[in-house]
Amino acid sequence: MKFLKFLGTRIITFVLVIMIGVTTIFFVPRFMPSDPVENMIGQMISKQSNMTPEAIQLYRESLSDTFGLEGSLGEQYVGFLKKVFVTGDFGPSLAAYPTPVMDMVRRAVPWTLGLMLTSTLISWLLGNFIGLLAGFRKNKWYAKILEGMAVFLYPIPYYVFALALIMIFCYVIPVFPLSMTLDNMAFDWSTISTILKNSILPALSLILVGLGWWVISTKALTTSVVEEDYVYYAKLKGLSQQRIMMRYITPNVALPQITTLALQIGGVFNGALITEILFGYPGLGKLIYTGIVQADYNLIMGTITISIVSITIATFVVDIIYPFLDPRIRNT
């Protein structure tokens, strides 16, 4: 019963957060001084100046209709909500008219998910493992070397690091292609190998840059957990080092790290903006970038709504599963 109440409040918060996010993303572009319909008509007039005012007016109305810009702001908002929540439709892309935004998103999502999920998970697992080792075996030489590498990696700005990787592995030693070249999308070995070959460098850059932070944070957590009374007492119980590490330190260190991981996985739908731009990777990040550069309102709204919803879902899932991981906040 208490759990249901807890679940209920979480669901209400969940819905509220999404509503506020979607509302913001609806209103912000509309407060901008430029109007996409006027922009488009302006472009058209500059190309062919022999349009009659009637034709322009007709054009304006039909464009407003297709873009969902008819009527007052309130009416537009209600129409937008109806479209988004009932049919999941964000309208056509303005830049790639008339491709629906949802189609573009649908095409980009598998790319982003494949790249981001694998690199985030690998980075998390590896970083936590190294961090635990570095914190638990503080005085060992290998722990010091691993930690040193993490400290070296962490402060490098991502774009510098990614560019360095591109320079080394695409120009100096050209083992990887500079940008994505995919001819056919048939599901066969050559397609898979091309995808892998194209994804290794962006994935590597993400893993290594993420690794630094995971190692440093896990190491800090581990050093503080190692000094807890219960770890000291476990030692006095005569338990082996492995057992202390597995049963006493790892679960207590992993708790906060799982939260951060879940939030990062929610953020995966943002795509890695810089990665995808630098490596020419056809994911969601590149889509957001395209939308912003070409002032494509529908595309911006579509991609950002997807990322708002996914981050909120991730937070929601963490809230729900956390009591199962940490007995101290379990509602009984």
């Binding site: 009374d229 476990a234 006095l236 119980k237 005569g238 057992r243 679960p251 007995p327 101290r328």
Partner: protein, 330 residues
């Protein structure tokens, strides 16, 4: 059982050296509860660590030896020296820590903390759980605590669980480091009763560290009074309370409130010496009302009085002995 011979130990902190335990001779006998009393920073806990074989940086043993003799089954006895005592952890000697608040893993159930400490792979878990539940029952603890998490138990309950945890494998010596700290007197009494019940049942030895003289009076058989890293007086608890021989013990016991006694109690003036640079002679001399020249210069020797009652004070030897006895008589 456990014998400490001329034990000296020190902490190294950077360039400083703190001699926390200095020339201590002590013996824990079979089937007794030994109390160790003294004020904060007198070396009680350090002595406990040494006896438990927990000798590691920054603590080091500079002189003397600690010898543990335990039965190893089949009538054989094993002797363990200094750090080797660690091999007997939990089987031969166990430890009840102070501050039960933070010594249990917050994310695992009491049950699995028992399994952890027992570490016996020959028994299957169901059987083991049954045995643990029976043992808890004997100690008047509800079976339900096994499936609870540490945060769901009260402080007193946690301390009881820890005592059960430390005594489950029936070790020959149980160390209890201030087991009643931070608990109210009613719970304290419960804990002390439980400890003496366990002691009566198992006939094992127990070492109890506490600064609370009341606790020692209630439960211990013998008592050891420590001051500034040295043992000043050792003897049967009743004798020490009735007839303390060292001036420090006398003042300590005189300061305890008694029922029906309304006189103003006085503390011992001054503060314990720094262990970095202790006084040359008797370490209590700067605060002792009977202090003479020899006290400041020469370390007093251990003087055995009657029936295993020992005190180390110049007043008990040499010329001043008679005058002191006379004064005590008054």
């Amino acid at each position: 059982m456990l014998k400490l011979t001329n034990v000296c130990a020190q902490y190294e902190t950077g360039h400083d050296v703190v001699r926390a335990v200095d020339h201590v001779n002590l013996e824990i006998r079979e089937n007794e509860i030994m109390g160790i009393a003294g004020e904060s920073g007198c070396g009680k806990s350090t002595l406990m660590k040494l006896m438990y074989g927990l000798i590691e940086y920054p603590l080091s043993l500079t002189d003397g030896s600690i010898e543990l003799k335990v039965a190893e089954g089949g009538g054989r006895h094993g002797t363990f020296l200094n750090e080797d005592i660690q091999k007997q952890w939990w089987k031969g000697i166990s430890y009840v820590p102070q501050g039960a608040m933070h010594v249990m893993n917050p994310v695992s159930k009491i049950k699995s903390q028992f399994f952890d400490a027992v570490c016996d792979k020959s028994k299957d878990k169901k059987q083991l759980e049954k045995e643990i539940a029976e043992y808890l029952n004997e100690l008047e603890l509800p079976r339900e605590v096994l499936s609870a998490y540490p945060h769901q138990l009260s402080g007193g309950m946690r301390q009881r669980v820890l005592i059960a945890l430390a005594t489950f494998l029936n070790p020959e010596i149980v160390f209890a480091d201030e087991p009643t700290t931070a608990l109210d007197v009613v719970v304290q009494r419960g804990i002390l009763n439980m400890l003496s019940r366990v002691h009566k049942k198992t006939k094992n030895s127990m070492v109890m560290v506490s600064h609370d003289m009341g606790v020692h009076y209630q439960i211990t058989d013998r008592l050891c009074i420590m001051y500034a890293g040295q043992v000043l007086e050792v003897g049967p608890t009743m004798k020490i309370f009735e007839n303390p021989r060292h001036p420090y013990t006398q003042m300590l016991i005189h300061a305890l409130p008694r029922i029906g006694d309304n006189s103003q109690k006085e503390g011992i003036k001054g503060a314990p010496p720094s262990l970095k640079n202790p006084p040359a002679g008797c370490r209590f001399s700067p605060r002792c009302p009977h202090c003479a020249d020899e006290c400041r210069k020469k370390r007093p020797t251990e003087t055995w009085l009657d029936d295993g009652h020992m005190a180390s004070c110049h007043l008990l030897t040499g010329k001043r002995r008679e005058s002191f006895a006379e004064m005590e008589g008054k």
